[in-house]
């Protein structure tokens, strides 16, 4: 047996496990999305009814659009915050770099719920922010909009997923040669042009990679809006959850899940193409 084919055989268990545990459930879900519910049983006559329902329903379309809107918004905010942080880590942190990177990841070691409840403590009517503002005399009554609002959800989501954006950008900054920025300055480019014409295009792969990660995770986040969003906590993910649970409409739930999946795959494809194109540049194929 040639070593190469031995390697292929050794990879078989992994491929089989991935197929059975990851791809098969998705395939089953995909099949379900073409079925329909007949009172309490599931009818196995295939149709596109579920997808038609999603298209026609303003509620579902709205929920899907809101999920992707949130993903884009949080990705954008984390990019704006992440750029200076990543630049500092790569170019200025020096010996403290390892420690700062570890600190950046520390929140990820604690549980989701823990972080969410921490934000409740901060944002609640009796929370740290309201108390301080009242004590300072800036307000008379607690600000109610802080907690259980889209604001609270997006603050927590940004906080949760910022490390992923920073890591992506940090890697990009590590491979950004300072000589390029010096060359740009040498050729007459002021600071903002150096960012626009050199830093931004050369860190774009990191921005896209980090952005995709944040985007996907925000779109799929269930707990944060549920526990911090109040009335706005109804998301497309919670809708899918309801359809599989109390509403017992697995086919519609599957169809929504697959619609989300298809859109996410499109986003990934677009991102991957962009990264490949910019790394072609970097490696000069």
């Amino acid at each position: 047996m040639r070593p190469q084919s031995a390697g292929n055989w050794l990879a078989l268990p992994v491929v089989a496990a991935l197929g059975a545990l990851c791809l098969a459930p998705l395939a089953i879900l995909f099949a379900y999305s073409f079925f329909s519910v007949d009172f309490v049983t599931i009818s196995h006559d295939p149709s596109l009814k579920n997808y038609a329902r999603i298209l026609q329903s303003e509620t579902y379309r709205g929920l899907i659009a809101r999920a992707f809107g949130s993903g884009l918004l949080v990705a954008a905010i984390t990019a704006v915050i992440g750029y200076p942080v990543a630049w500092f880590l790569a170019k200025r942190a020096g010996a403290a770099k390892t420690m700062l990177l570890t600190l950046l990841l520390v929140p990820l070691y604690s549980g989701d719920l823990l972080r969410i409840f921490a934000w409740r403590v901060l944002l609640g009517a009796e929370g740290a922010i309201n108390r301080s503002l009242i004590w300072l005399g800036a307000i008379d009554a607690p600000l109610q909009g802080l907690l259980f609002s889209p604001l609270a959800t997006h603050i927590a989501l940004t906080y949760n997923y910022l490390p992923f954006m920073v890591i992506g950008l940090w890697l990009a900054f590590e491979s950004l040669d300072d000589a390029w920025l010096e060359a740009a300055a040498d050729l007459g480019a002021p600071g903002r042009d150096r960012f626009r014409r050199v830093t931004l295009p050369l860190t774009a792969p990191g921005l896209i990679a980090g952005g995709l990660m944040v985007f996907v995770m925000v779109v799929g986040d269930y707990l944060t809006p549920q526990l911090l969003g109040g009335a706005s906590g109804v998301t497309v993910i919670s809708a899918i959850n309801d359809l599989f649970g109390t509403a017992f409409d697995w086919p519609l739930g599957s169809a929504i899940a697959w619609t989300m999946l298809a859109i996410l795959m499109l986003c990934f494809g677009a991102g991957a193409t962009l990264i490949r194109r910019s790394s072609l540049v970097a490696e000069g194929a």
């Binding site: 390029w180 010096e182 060359a183 040498d186 050729l187 007459g188 002021p190 490696e283």
Partner: protein, 360 residues
């Protein structure tokens, strides 16, 4: 610009670049310790020295990439100190070339023109002209990483000269090229500088490169200027033992000055007394060195006895290493070499060798 009018008047009379009492330290390390230097217009000047001598730091301060510790930089009589790099009429060819990997060769060269008073529709044409100057117009649409080192070097050069800088800085530009390529580029650099009538300030640790290119060589050591002058002066009349050794690897025989004699001094060395020309200002009793270059020492029937330790074939001749009086000498020898261990006699023409200071 008002600056342009001023320069036209001042161009003939004052030096292009003046470096006055320049200092720079990093923490407790003094990289540049008090440099005074002036560059004539349209000259090719080389900063020559080993790594860590402060030559690159000096260049980076002129370019605006490094803040000045203390002292002043003047270009065309205008203070550069507080001008950021992007507003100095100076361009740089970087050691790593620093070509933008995401832009084509043409876009790289055109980059700086968008910050000059060049009409938009002329930018591409000007960039192509600059590429033609370095014979790279055929590569205009390639990416930098698709080019060889020598080609990247030419593009970096085109990207800098297209902006018609008052001063062009070159930071070890040939160090990444192989020997053959380096020779070709040396000729091209010198030729380009003459054709463009531009002033080049070139940093290198390679003395051959400095000789091939420069109108003037500035030898640096430990953040100071050890000696500056025309290449011929530096080679034949080194001021210190350091310069004599660094430039052309002269053997420096230590001695003591006995007093002025003839056109130079009488010097007492381990190999006897000699009367030899030397640097001005050596007093009686001062410690000095007698500098002997390999081509100035000959084997003969008379002279100082020495033992041959090595013989290295160099193609045109042999380089012999001989020891006499505990001192190592190098001798260029045309004929078949004596075997190592053999005793030979060394002699030199006292009028053609030189006495230098032991230290600055």
């Amino acid at each position: 610009m008002a600056v342009a009018a001023k320069t036209a008047a001042g161009r003939r009379t004052r030096p292009l670049l003046e470096v006055i009492a320049l200092h720079k330290s990093y923490g407790s390390v003094q990289a540049v310790r008090g440099i005074d230097l002036s560059l004539a217009n349209e000259s090719y000047v080389t900063l020559l020295g080993p790594s860590g001598c402060g030559k690159t730091t000096l260049l980076r301060m002129v370019g605006g990439f490094e803040a000045i510790g203390s002292g002043t930089l003047m270009l065309d009589g205008m203070r550069l100190d507080d001008l950021p790099a992007n507003r100095r009429p100076i361009n740089t060819v970087f050691q790593s070339y620093a070509l933008f990997p995401h832009l084509s060769v043409l876009e790289n060269v055109a980059f700086g023109l968008s910050y000059r008073a060049v009409p938009k529709d002329r930018i591409k044409a000007r960039a192509r002209e600059a590429l033609a100057t370095v014979r790279m117009e055929a590569m205009a649409d390639r990416r930098p990483r698709q080019l060889s080192g020598g080609q990247q070097q030419r593009v970096a050069l085109a990207r800098a000269i297209v902006n018609e800088p008052r001063l062009l800085l070159l930071d070890e530009p040939l160090s990444a090229l192989d020997r053959r390529m380096r020779k070709d580029m040396q000729i091209e650099l010198k030729d380009l500088q003459r054709r463009l009538g531009m002033t080049f300030l070139h940093v290198t640790h390679d003395q051959e490169e400095a000789f091939a290119l420069s109108d003037r060589i500035v030898v640096m050591r430990d953040g100071r200027i050890e000696q500056q002058g025309a290449p011929g002066d530096i080679y034949t009349r080194p001021a210190t033992a350091y310069v004599a050794d660094f430039i052309g690897g002269a053997s420096c025989l230590p001695g003591r000055i006995l007093g002025p004699a003839g056109k130079g001094y009488a010097i007492e060395t381990a190999l006897g007394r000699h009367v030899v020309p030397g640097v001005a200002g050596l007093s009686v009793g001062a410690r000095a060195v007698l500098c002997l270059r390999s081509e100035q020492v000959a084997l003969g029937d008379t002279g100082t006895p020495a033992e041959v330790t090595h013989a290295v074939y160099r193609g045109a001749d042999w380089l012999l290493e001989c020891v006499a009086g505990g001192q190592l000498f190098q001798v260029a020898h045309a004929g078949p070499p004596p075997a190592p261990g053999e005793t030979v006699r060394l002699s030199f023409d006292p009028d053609r060798v030189w006495i230098a200071r032991e230290a600055a």
